[in-house]
Amino acid sequence: MALLQISEPGQSPNPHQRRVAVGIDLGTTHSLVAAVRNGVAECLPDGEGRVLLPSVVRYLAGGGRQIGHDATQALHTDARNTIASVKRFMGRGLADIAQAGKLPYDLVGNGTDRGMVSIETVGGVKSPVEVSAEILATLRYRAEDTFNDDLYGAVITVPAYFDDAQRQATKDAAKLAGIHLLRLINEPTAAAIAYGLDNASEGIYAVYDLGGGTFDISILRLTQGVFEVLATGGDSALGGDDYDAALADWVLTQLGLEAHTPADKAAARLAARACKEALTATEMVAFSAMLAGVEVRFDVKRSDFDAATAELTARSLAVVRRTLRDAQLARDEVQGVVMVGGSTRMPQVQRAVAEFFGREPLTNLNPDEVVALGAAIQAHQLAGNNMAGDLLLLDVIPLSLGIETMGGLVERIVARNETIPTAKAQDFTTYKDGQTALAIHVVQGERDLVQDCRSLARFELRGIPPMVAGAARIRVTFTVDADGLLSVDAREQISGVEARIDVKPTYGLSDDQIARMLQEGFATAAQDMQARALVEARVDADRMLIATQSALDADADLLTEDDRAAIDARMEALRILMATASDAAELEAATQALAKDTEPFAAQRMNRGIRQALAGKNVQTL
């Protein structure tokens, strides 16, 4: 009789199977990559020991580019082609960009006022998705160099208040950078993980996250490794950049000056930022910049800065108030306030938050790093490196989802702050005899009129069997997955016909556009696309084989002998193909076949798991 090998709980059976999984904080101002090494999450430095990668990409004539520190040098000298704070353009149209005229870029809208904004550079027209992908790819290489191994996958963080279009744009950027996205998680939630696990906290916490370009507030309940988001709110266009701009405006007004050229605009902002940073430690500092070839100097007191930006801080606190109301909590029920994001270093922000909650905020972790560290912990667990980990995130959708109905009104489908994943079904019928198609316009926001909400996409359902008006019963299911992303499917209930759906994202990239960018060998110009596809297919096949084997190890008793034999045969076929295949499509098909054949097994395993969870502790009432 063969003896079973049993490994220590929580230990991976084979150290070589440990997968490189990282957390990436794709920030407005700078980005970071972190990983769990020897049980501890830490940020990975570049070759020169620097952890922060400035989120700046400079495009050069002839197709070259500089990323990070190299590019920041050019912020003054080549402002037009040196893209900073690109996160603010993700999933946004030209009309959405506040004060576009104050930015040193040539922004172009796509079509009329539809589609994501692009940036005209000397290296061609660039989508914000491409710019972000450059940053992500740089961090991916950093991680791969650090571990001298391929990256298995990454958890990438987004502001909690990002809408569907902004999340989708981030996911597309990961795809362009050749990163297997394990999960998109919300920045405040990631910060809560790092804090909560570090301090073994339990109870209700607020995370106040003021970054370079976005503001988030999340209220969480922490219990035994479960991070339950009770409510989230924010402003995806409020951050340190706005403090810089407000200060620059104030100083220029005092001097009676105006910045016209891209170089002057950039210079005024950079001088304001330097001023802001210095004012954290001192009471007075000189604003100095070269404007129109003339050196300008002006003394700024901290109280001037506070006054010039008081409106911004107040705006953030109004959001905090609303979010507490959504969570149905009073301020004094919050047991701790965590400060995240470099902009929370500003003394006036710390003071305002402390006054609001009546307690000093927690700042013992580096506000620049805490988000990436939390993401790394989550990535470590999602990659299966920490089988004993009992971390669980129960996050929410930040903004309500609805559909357009007659008269431009919004019918709400999924309410904000509902726990994800979630799905809602809605029945529709036809308006005319023989109608075979139906268009559904999905919007996101809290207002009653379509025009006041953000348009996400138009879904066109086709292939509805012709019937008399009002006879068809089309059930449309809106699903929001654990990344916070929406998908839609539809079925005519009487005939059972599945409708075909064409998605026209309002501010996103179409599949064709992404395919084209991938074709253009984006960020991986040196790599042969086909070779890369084959490598990825091999990784997927391997992942599927390992998953199936561990499922068999745990629950093979659920299978009949025939079922088991069929699965074994599929696995063997896939193993052989992995060693010999030269065509990615063939290997993908075999992986899919195994996935399909193990579907009923997966269902049985899940049922067993749920039953066991219920049997474990039966709720005793009365």
């Binding site: 394990l182 509902e418 499922a551 219920l614 709720v619």
Partner: protein
């Protein structure tokens, strides 16, 4: 038990109105700890899809079962007395008068104190309606009667939102 089980079976609690919120919260987390897609991230596509379905189902059940009004509506439906608020407006007899009085009171209120007093009244009415629901469902098994109470509760919930909006206007 499977994806088609009702909310009470899924949560392993008796099928009745009276429930302990803390027990439901704890059970929700136990179930999600088992079913959430993140717990199956390394287990391939089939398991992911299963996890997604279960996780969605558990959240759906939790949203409904934890909210007393929705729980009452659900029990009425399970017992053949659907709420059908869109085409059935039957409410408890004395409630219609009450509605009109409240609407008038909110229109005429011009101070914070007046609106807050109204808010207290509405809160109290909600409590009473929920107590009646509990009695009609758990003791008398009068589901048609409970459905009328649920319609009243739905009105109360909408009216509470109007009050909240008004309080916001009055700068609170």
């Amino acid at each position: 038990m499977n994806l088609q089980s009702d909310d009470f079976e899924l949560f392993g609690v008796p099928r009745r109105f009276a429930q302990e919120r803390s027990a439901l919260d704890a059970r929700w987390k136990e179930l999600q700890r088992e079913a959430h897609p993140d717990r199956h991230a390394a287990s391939g596509g089939a398991a992911q899809r299963q996890a997604m379905q279960w996780s969605v189902r558990i959240n759906e059940a939790y949203q409904r079962i934890k909210d007393p009004m929705r729980r009452a509506a659900y029990l009425c439906e399970l017992h053949g007395a659907p709420i059908r608020a869109e085409d059935n407006t039957a409410m408890p007899g004395d409630f219609l008068m009450q509605q009109m009085e409240w609407r008038e009171a909110l229109e005429e209120a011009d101070s914070l104190a007046q609106v807050e007093a109204l808010e207290d009244q509405v809160r109290q009415a909600r409590r009473v309606a929920l107590e009646r629901c509990a009695d009609l469902i758990d003791q008398q098994q009068d589901f048609a009667g409970a459905a009328r109470q649920v319609r009243a509760l739905m009105f109360i919930a909408r009216f509470a939102l109007d009050i909240e909006r008004r309080l916001e206007q009055l700068g609170q």
